[in-house]
C-alpha cells in the first residue's frame, strides 16, 4: 500500500466521527434545536462502546451501547429544553460537562486496557477495484453507516413529507403548529436522532480510531462537529466535504511529525481548532447568506398556546 493510500485512509478514519456527529446535529438544528451537548453525547458513546465491547467481546454490541448512551443523553437534553423549555445553550453545556464527568467515572476501570478493534468488512468485487477498493470498500461498518446516514438524511429532508414537516418546524414553529404539526414530537425525534449519531461517532473513536479508552478522548471533536454544521450551511453532503477537510487537517500533524518538520507539536495540534475558527469566519462574515441558510427558529423555545 502506497503512502498516499495510507494518508487517505487515515483521513477517512479521522473524518468519520466528525461526519457522523455533524450529520446528526444537522437534523436536530434543521428542526430548530441547537444542541451544544454533542461533545458530551460523543464521549458517552465512546466510553459505553468501549465498556460493552470489553464485557461482551463483541464490538457490534459496543456500537449498540454507544448509540444507546447517545440516545439517553439526548433524551435528558430533550426533556429539559423541549418539555421544560430550559435555555438550550446552557443545557447543551450542562450535557457536555455531565458527559465528561460521567464518562470519566465509568471509564476509570477500563483505563489502559487493550481494546478490540472493529474489523473492516470487504465488499465483494468492489473491494478489488485498484486504489478505490482498499480505500472505500474495505472499511469498517461505521464508515459505511456514516455514508448511508448522510444519504438517508439528504433523502429524508428534501424528498420526504416527514422531512418537509421537520424543516417547517425549524423555520417557523408557530406556523407549523398552526397547521397541526406536533412541533415538540418532531423536535424530540430530531434530538434523539442527533444523540444516536453522536453516540455512534463516539463508538467509532474508541473502537476504530484509537481502540482504547482515554479520558476526554473526544478532544473537542463534538465542538468541531457543531462548527461543521454551520460550515455546511445545514446541507447534508456538505457535511461530508467539510468533515473530510477537517479530517485532513487533524491528521496533518501526525504526518508532519513523521516527515520531521521542525514545528513544535503543540502548534500542529492546535491546527484543527484554528482551522475551525478560520472556516467559521469565512462562512459567517456574509450576514445575509447566513441569515438565509440558518433555520429561522434555531435555538428558540416553543411553548404551545393552550
Amino acid at each position: 500500500m502506497g503512502i498516499i493510500e495510507a494518508i487517505l485512509l487515515s483521513v477517512i478514519t479521522a473524518a468519520t466521527p466528525l461526519v457522523l456527529a455533524a450529520a446528526g446535529e444537522l437534523v436536530a438544528e434543521r428542526s430548530g434545536v441547537l444542541n451544544l451537548g454533542v461533545e458530551g453525547m460523543m464521549i458517552m458513546g465512546a466510553v459505553s462502546a468501549f465498556a460493552a465491547t470489553q464485557i461482551t467481546g463483541s464490538p457490534y454490541v459496543g456500537i449498540l451501547a454507544g448509540v444507546a448512551a447517545g440516545l439517553l443523553f439526548a433524551l435528558f437534553f430533550g426533556f429539559l429544553t423541549l418539555t421544560l423549555v430550559a435555555n438550550q445553550v446552557a443545557t447543551g453545556l450542562a450535557l457536555t460537562l455531565l458527559g465528561l464527568g460521567v464518562s470519566g467515572m465509568l471509564g476509570e476501570s477500563f483505563l489502559g486496557m487493550q481494546g478490540i478493534k472493529l474489523q473492516p468488512i470487504a465488499i465483494p468485487l468492489l473491494s478489488e477495484v485498484p486504489f478505490l477498493g482498499p480505500l472505500l470498500f474495505r472499511q469498517d461498518a461505521i464508515f459505511y453507516l456514516s455514508i448511508a446516514i448522510v444519504a438517508g438524511i439528504h433523502w429524508f429532508l428534501f424528498r420526504s413529507r416527514a422531512g418537509l414537516k421537520l424543516r417547517a418546524v425549524g423555520d417557523s414553529h408557530a406556523s407549523a403548529h398552526a397547521l397541526g404539526v406536533d412541533v415538540i414530537r418532531i423536535r424530540y425525534l430530531a434530538v434523539l436522532f442527533g444523540g444516536a449519531c453522536a453516540g455512534l461517532a463516539g463508538a467509532q473513536l474508541s473502537l476504530v480510531y484509537t481502540p482504547q479508552w482515554v479520558e476526554n478522548m473526544s478532544a473537542g471533536r463534538g465542538w468541531i462537529a457543531l462548527a461543521l454544521v454551520v460550515f455546511a450551511s445545514w446541507r447534508p453532503w456538505r457535511v461530508v466535504a467539510g468533515g473530510y477537510l477537517f479530517g485532513a487537517v487533524s491528521i496533518s500533524q501526525l504526518h508532519a511529525q513523521a516527515f520531521g518538520i521542525g514545528i513544535p507539536s503543540q502548534f500542529l495540534s492546535s491546527l484543527p481548532y484554528v482551522a475551525t475558527i478560520v472556516v467559521l469566519i469565512l462562512i459567517s462574515h456574509n450576514r445575509r447568506m447566513t441569515l438565509i441558510n440558518t433555520p429561522a427558529s434555531l435555538g428558540k423555545p416553543f411553548v404551545p398556546e393552550r
Binding site: A94, L97, I277
Partner: protein
C-alpha cells in the same frame, strides 16, 4: 401522563429564591443514589463529600482558595450571559491571563520591587481581556458565533501553555520537569489571614462581586446590559449599541478570568505548569447559573462548587470513590438548576391522558 407548562402571569419571586436550593437538594438526592449504586453507604459518602471539608480550619482555607477563581470568573460571565453574549472560553482566558501575568516573574526574574505584584495582576487582566477580544471582534465585526470561537480558543491556550513550559519558559535548573522557575518572593500573592493559606485572590473575588452587583443595580451600564440581553431591538430604540456591548462584556469577563488566572498562579501554584486549572473556566459557568446570574448569589454558588472539588478529594481519601465524582456532581447540579428555573416562569401541570381527552371533548 403528560407534562404541560402554563405561563405565569408574573415571574414567581418565591421560586426565584427557592430554585437554586431545590436544585441543590435534588443533586444531593441523586448523588446519594449514585453512591448507593457504587456500593457505598450514601450517608457516609455524602457526609465525607459535603460536610467533612467544612469542619477543619485548613480545609476552609482550601475552600476559599478554590472559590476565588470560580467567583471571579463567574461574576464576569454573569455580565456576559445577562447581555446575551455566550463567552464559554473563560478557561482559555484564565490560562492566557496566567501566562501574561507570569512574564515578569519568569522572564524578568531578576527584577525585584514592590511594583512587581500589581503589574502582574494588571498584565493578567490585560492578557485575559486580549484573548477574549478575539471572539469579541469576530462576533461584533465578522458575525461569527462566539460560542464556538471562544471554546476553540481554550484548546489553543492550553496547547500554548504546554509549549511554553516545555520549551522557552522551562526552568533551566528544573531537572527537565515541564515547569517554569518558581516565582520570587515579590511575585507571590500574600496570604490574607494568619490562620491559613487563603491568599488575596479571594478578596479580589469578593470586591469584584460587590462592584458588579453595584453596577448592575445602580448604574446605566447595568441597565443597558439587562435591556440588550432581554431584547436587542428594545435596546436599539433606547440608543444602546449591541456591538459595543459585545466588546464590553467579552473584555470585562476576559479581564476577570485573566485576573483569576494570575491570582491562582501567583497565590496558590507559584509557577507555571502544563495544567494550571482543574476546569475552573467551565465550572464557573455552573457557578454563574447557580447564582442566578446575580453577583452576590455567585459568591455563594462559588463556595458550593468549590466544596464539590474538595468533597471529591475527601471522598476519594475516606471512602475510596474516584474524584471524578466531582465532575458528575457539577454536571448534575447545572442540570437541576436549569430545570428548576422553569418553575420561575411556568406552572408545571401533570396531565393524565384520560382527563386530557375529556377536556378536548368538552371543547368540541
Amino acid at each position: 401522563m403528560r407534562i404541560e407548562l402554563e405561563k405565569r402571569a408574573k415571574v414567581s419571586t418565591l421560586f426565584s429564591v427557592l430554585s437554586p436550593f431545590i436544585a441543590f437538594a435534588l443533586t444531593i438526592v441523586f448523588g446519594g443514589i449514585m453512591f448507593a449504586l457504587l456500593g457505598k453507604s450514601p450517608v457516609t459518602a455524602l457526609y465525607s463529600f459535603f460536610v467533612e471539608p467544612l469542619i477543619e480550619v485548613w480545609s476552609l482555607h482550601e475552600l476559599a482558595i478554590k472559590a476565588a477563581p470560580l467567583i471571579l470568573i463567574g461574576v464576569g460571565l454573569s455580565v456576559c450571559f445577562r447581555s446575551n453574549n455566550w463567552n464559554i472560553g473563560a478557561e482559555g482566558q484564565f490560562i492566557m491571563g496566567a501566562i501574561a501575568g507570569s512574564i515578569l516573574p519568569v522572564v524578568f526574574y531578576d527584577w525585584q520591587s514592590p511594583l512587581v505584584l500589581p503589574l502582574m495582576m494588571l498584565f493578567g487582566m490585560i492578557g485575559g481581556a486580549l484573548f477574549a477580544a478575539i471572539p469579541a471582534f469576530l462576533k461584533a465585526h465578522m458575525n461569527t458565533n462566539e460560542i464556538l470561537t471562544s471554546l476553540m480558543l481554550v484548546y489553543v491556550a492550553q496547547l500554548f501553555l504546554d509549549w511554553l513550559v516545555r520549551g522557552p519558559w522551562r526552568n533551566p535548573q528544573g531537572m527537565n520537569f515541564p515547569e517554569t522557575r518558581t516565582f520570587g518572593p515579590d511575585a507571590i500573592l500574600p496570604e490574607m489571614l494568619a490562620s491559613g493559606r487563603t491568599h488575596w485572590g479571594f478578596a479580589f473575588a469578593i470586591i469584584a462581586a460587590v462592584l458588579v452587583w453595584f453596577m448592575m443595580r445602580y448604574t446605566l451600564r447595568g441597565f443597558e446590559i439587562t435591556v440588550l440581553g432581554q431584547s436587542e431591538r428594545a435596546g436599539r430604540f433606547a440608543g444602546f449599541s449591541s456591538r459595543k456591548m459585545i466588546w464590553f462584556s467579552m473584555l470585562f469577563s476576559g479581564a476577570l478570568a485573566g485576573l483569576a488566572g494570575i491570582a491562582e498562579v501567583s497565590g496558590a501554584i507559584q509557577q507555571l505548569r502544563p495544567v494550571i486549572s482543574p476546569g475552573y473556566g467551565f465550572t464557573a459557568i455552573i457557578v454563574a447559573f447557580l447564582g442566578r446570574l446575580n453577583p452576590l448569589g455567585i459568591v455563594a454558588a462559588g463556595l458550593v462548587l468549590a466544596l464539590t472539588y474538595l468533597g471529591g478529594e475527601a471522598a476519594q481519601l475516606s471512602i475510596g470513590v474516584s474524584d471524578k465524582v466531582t465532575r458528575v456532581f457539577q454536571g448534575l447540579l447545572l442540570f437541576f438548576v436549569l430545570s428548576c428555573d422553569t418553575l420561575i416562569h411556568y406552572r408545571i401541570r401533570l396531565v393524565w391522558e384520560r382527563f386530557a381527552v375529556a377536556k378536548t371533548d368538552e371543547a368540541h
